[in-house]
Point group: C2
Chain length 619, copies 2
């Protein structure tokens, strides 16, 4: 942007900037400021040039400017933008200034620093600049500014040249929208201030006076509440309303519900009050709607609402808490048994058989159902424990042994299918890799290494930079993350010929290995139970099948996840290669390689070889 | 190797080999064989040249040779070595023959194929060659060869030119050491054959005749057992001894113990016999010595030795089995309670508090100790369940609440130290990386990219190709693997200035992240318990501290484990670079990168963000 006018005023910007930098480096702020104003150079450069030096010499800056108008000009031009990287970049030769890494914003830092300096230098003299510094912050501090105006009115400064409240307010109105200022003046709860602002505004006294008079008539806390609510400052409103006593509690409860200020509200009322209880119940109701019934139960239980708590715990299958509350109520034995059965049923649906068995055994007093739940869940040792505890060896013959035989055949068949799928994927992977490598080399042969299409066929090209395959180890996993992972898996299609088929196959092979590896504990406990009941042959067959599967998958690792897959293409060198062709071939390999999200597909699954599952007595 | 003699017989080997290959490709085996014999070329080349073609045309080969001596010569020269890759490599231009990938050894495959062909062509004519094929196998089939000699003696062939048993035996003795042959003849249990071999040997009849006569006097099974034992074939010996009836069982048991043939022995006796029981007890004793007491217990229990089984189960803390056996015996109540206490004590030592509590509660009938165990183990909900079950709310005040407060402060302090260590390591890592990068660039500047020392300073150089950092997810982990990992960790020293300090820091940072991430479940259950007892402030503090720690560690991931760390050095290009210098700079980066064992240090730790631990009701 050049100033219009005579040619004399045209300056070469690079020269000007060089001169400005020199001035700023030697702390000649006045010269720099004058020049920048004249040539319309953004004033932000003064602090952006070297923020640390500027902040360390902020008093020098103010002293040199020695003009409230100039300080205000500087303040009003402040922007978050760093002009040394956008408008006035350093020439390349100069060292890059390290940016201050604090989380604070530049504008706020500069405003606060200037204001602090001016307040310690001469708060009266710099009054308007101080107000500007408040108003220019990222979140304007209008209340504080107004408060200062109000103080000026209460205690006018006697100093020569001091600013009057009137002047200060006028200046503020020049900086800020009058309605904003009115609202914020209300927020100080200072009616003098409100009136002062209102009078300066275009507002009709017929409108605001009745409202102010109504407010004035209210009890102080309720007055503040009303103002806060008017200004939509609901937390403050609640705080003031909570001090208004018994008769206003329903209003408070209403506010809490409307604005969902439950946890804030609980902190405002004492834990043993009836209000606290009412708030807890309201919160609990809200939490149940938010699928947080267990936390609702905790609130209800501790505030002395065991019946509602029981309902909340039961609905979230928080069975231990449910049973505790039920015994505290206390529920009659037959109802307790019913509750236990209900909870057990839910737990069985969630495959939590051991917990279900505990409920059935200890609270529903139905050891048979308990044992059957354990047998269904393949929790063999625990099933046997209950059988002996309740002297029900008959169940061993009728249920346990048949279930063991069924389990061993299920596990064997499952292993077989896993192994078959693994072998099929592995074979297909070899084919796909060969095809891709061939296609890639053909491409390079035809078009030379600069051909961008070649990359399409490279091994590494199937890296998807925007996806994750997070294999969470936990079984507790939120639904949303499950859905997300499902969606991501879809991108990796196993369909023959799909562009990322090789990745999909590697992912599938990793999944199978992990699934089979996870069976260690189950296979171990099944083998022990089989041996105990002399099903040695079945146990031997399973042990052999499982060992074979594990060994086969471990042996496939070097082939499926070769070391250095991430760099598996030999650099293209030879008599005809040039520096450029070599560079190109490296870049093709490197570009798609780096994504860390792929690391999981490229890394072989971890086998938990530390988990010993084999029985010595089976050969 | 050239034949000595006239110059006429000197041939250029490459030309000879080319000719041989042509003959072999056109199945002219006779010509090839003659030439190879004359020029002393290893006969293995005949089958190595193209194994598939050779095996497919094995009858043609035999027919063309048409000489038992020549076939024998070929058989005796067979070696496992592949002469096409060692002695007579293919010239580079010819396509590489795919090797048959079967697990079988070449010598065995060729011997079996030749023998099969000769047996179907004319077993009488090729008798000696067939014997050679048996003897030349990797594990010589001497019994079969001897058996064939014996058959010749029983049924001499009437065919013209047929080999007599006498001739065949002489031939065998020429191939095999006479003592080996004598031992193996014993192994056929055929005394005629033994005598036949013995007579041909240099053995003194005064020595072998009494032994053979003694053997002849024995009951057939016991006779075979004696021979098997003499030949150290213990499994066969046990098999024959097991058929010798009651009076020989002590001898069998002795053999089983000496040779550790327990599982084989169990399969030879019926499960309900007293022998089976005796064997099981012996096996169990052995298993206990081998630290496999649980499996010993299973054997003892199922063979009806509950008292010994109980001891075995108790010593291996297989507490469910121990309790079941104890109730089967049945142990009197006071002894059962003592047993339960003993087991619980061991479980507490292993930090298995829930199981200990079950024993104390249900079998020792000591609910107070059970609750205290659960409180010690921070199993809050289960502790509360037992408190309500046994109506012992007093323990809530005396023990549970104080323990909760202690736990929250322990966890908070632990988090603080983890965070402090994390920040310290992270800061140090940045310093180390900067130093390494600087040193590397300095090196390259001085010596050019070919300097091998430069690699010492490169980021990737700290990759240790021979180590693994296997972070097993299981808590069950064998002692040996723990020790191994410990030793590996030592190699990565955190000492300032150690050559792999950066890797050590990354490893340590990963470990801290994983440790903190693992606290999710514990923190969640602690928070719920704190809220229940209205320790909201402590809970809020912990929730905040934990959230900060997790966020800080997640935010550090891009810095500590930058994407593409494995290729993080820009290729050295510029006006002065050459094809060679670029290659060198790439190779420096690539060489140490590929090891997959490093992937774990280079990959950021997986955070289980699916495990929700935060409470909504705490803000």
């Amino acid at each position: 942007q050049m100033p219009r006018g005579n040619l004399e005023t045209v300056h070469h910007r690079a020269l000007v900037l060089a001169q400005l930098r020199k001035w700023l480096d030697s702390l000649k702020f006045r010269e720099a400021f004058e020049c920048m104003r004249k040539l319309r150079i953004n004033l932000n450069l003064i602090c952006d040039h070297n923020p640390k030096v500027f902040l360390d010499n902020i008093e020098t800056f103010i002293t040199q400017l020695n003009s409230i108008n100039d300080v205000n000009l500087f303040l009003t031009e402040l922007k978050e933008e760093d002009t040394t990287s956008t408008m006035y970049p350093h020439p390349e030769s100069s060292p890059i200034q390290p940016q201050p890494a604090s989380g604070q914003k530049k504008v706020d830092v500069v405003c606060d620093a200037l204001r602090g300096a001016m307040e310690s230098m001469d708060p009266n003299k710099f009054c308007l600049s101080i107000l500007t510094a408040h108003v220019k912050k990222t979140v304007p501090e209008l209340e504080i500014a107004l408060q200062k105006v109000h103080e000026l009115r209460e205690n006018p400064s006697e100093a020569p040249g001091a600013v009057s409240a009137e002047e200060a307010l006028k200046y503020l109105l020049f900086l800020v929208n009058v309605n904003d200022l009115y609202e914020h003046s209300l927020g100080t709860y200072d009616f003098d201030l409100v009136l002062m602002v209102a009078e300066k505004s275009q507002k009709d006294p017929k409108e605001y006076l009745p409202f102010l008079n109504m407010l004035k008539s209210l009890e102080p806390n309720y007055q503040r509440y009303t103002i806060d609510k008017h200004l939509k400052r609901y937390k403050k409103a609640l705080h003031h309303l909570s001090k208004c006593g018994e008769q206003h509690f329903p209003e408070a409860l209403q506010l809490v519900k409307e604005q969902k200020l439950y946890s804030e509200a609980l902190r405002m009322f004492s834990a043993n009050s009836s209000h606290y209880k009412a708030l807890s119940c309201a919160y609990a109701e809200h939490l149940v709607q938010q699928q947080q019934a267990e936390q609702a139960g905790l609130l209800l239980w501790r505030c002395g609402e065991p019946v509602s708590a029981l309902q909340a715990f039961a609905s979230s299958t928080s069975w231990r808490n449910a049973i505790c509350v039920a015994q505290q109520i206390p529920l009659p034995p037959d109802q307790l048994a019913l509750l236990a059965r209900d909870l057990a049923e839910k737990l069985i649906e969630q495959r939590r058989y051991s917990e279900a068995a505990l409920l059935l055994d200890q609270y529903a007093k139905d050891c048979e159902e308990a044992i059957l739940a354990l047998i269904t869940g393949a929790v063999w040792e625990e099933a046997l424990r209950l059988i002996y505890m309740h002297n029900r060896q008959d169940i061993t013959e009728t249920n346990l042994k048949p279930a063991l035989l069924e389990a061993v055949s299920t596990q064997t068949v499952f292993l077989e299918t896993q192994v078959v799928t693994f072998v099929r994927h592995r074979t297909r992977l070899a084919v796909v890799r060969e095809q891709k490598e061939k296609a890639r080399l053909d491409m390079l042969d035809e078009d030379g290494p600069d051909c961008p299409d070649a990359e399409l066929y490279s091994e590494a090209s199937s890296v998807m930079t925007n996806s994750k395959y997070s294999q969470s180890n936990s079984r507790i996993s939120s639904r949303s993350s499950k859905n997300r992972r499902k969606a991501e898996r879809k991108k990796l299609s196993l369909k023959e010929g799909s562009p990322m088929e090789d990745r999909a196959l590697m992912y599938a092979l990793g999944e199978i290995s992990t699934t089979v590896d996870k069976m260690r504990e189950d296979v171990h406990s099944l083998l022990k139970a089989l041996v105990l009941f002399e099903f040695d042959k079945q146990a031997e067959k399973l042990q052999l099948a499982y060992e074979d599967a594990l060994q086969m998958m471990a042996a496939a690792v070097p082939e499926v996840w070769p070391e250095g897959l991430q760099n598996n293409q030999a650099p293209l060198t030879g008599p005809n290669s040039t520096a450029n062709s070599i560079m190109a071939s490296f870049q093709q390999q490197q570009k798609p390689v780096v994504s860390q999200q792929d690391a999981e597909v490229l890394t072989p699954p971890k086998m938990r070889n530390g988990v010993k599952w084999k029985l010595t007595i089976l050969k």
